[in-house]
Amino acid sequence: EAGVTQFPSHSVIEKGQTVTLRCDPISGHDNLYWYRRVMGKEIKFLLHFVKESKQDESGMPNNRFLAERTGGTYSTLKVQPAELEDSGVYFCASRGLMNTGELFFGEGSRLTVL
């Protein structure tokens, strides 16, 4: 069974440009999460989908960030326009219906904004 996959693994863009990160969760996992680690600091929660619905988006930093999960399968996280402080590693995680507390993470997408 494939794990959580994220694309791209690394993206370098200029300030003001747009970047879209993609996450494919483990097949059948209704719960999908986005996290971010900026400049070696703590990993911070961004938002949580249950199927295609946003369950909790309290961690989204501002309206330059847009997350979608059309059809309840893969998810995208768009940053538009990107700022320097958006640089970091964006992690996606998923879990199934059984809540054991464990999340399954992807390798992360590293974003560098110049």
Binding site: G40, D56, E102, L103, F105
Partner: protein
Amino acid sequence: AQTVTQSQPEMSVQEAETVTLSCTYDTSESDYYLFWYKQPPSRQMILVIRQEAYKQQNATENRFSVNFQKAAKSFSLKISDSQLGDAAMYFCAYSTLKAAGNKLTFGGGTRVLVKP
């Protein structure tokens, strides 16, 4: 709000030796989960060990064990017989049981270096 603190940015251990990573947290809740996740270089983060707060017995997974002190809000990870493959970033994390969202609150991480 819950917070998780890892006071050791980096720890070094000799192969086959033991290393202990510290983690403290702050919460007003009585029921919750605590986790240690491991992220090897350029690899995904994987769960090392999980502890339910209502369980007094410390969790153990092979060479990994925890020392859970609920009153002190401390959750340290002991890696015994360290192996080269244990080299990674280790993150302590907290999850409330109340919310259906199950979002994790992470510490800043501890980098473990294993010397051959």
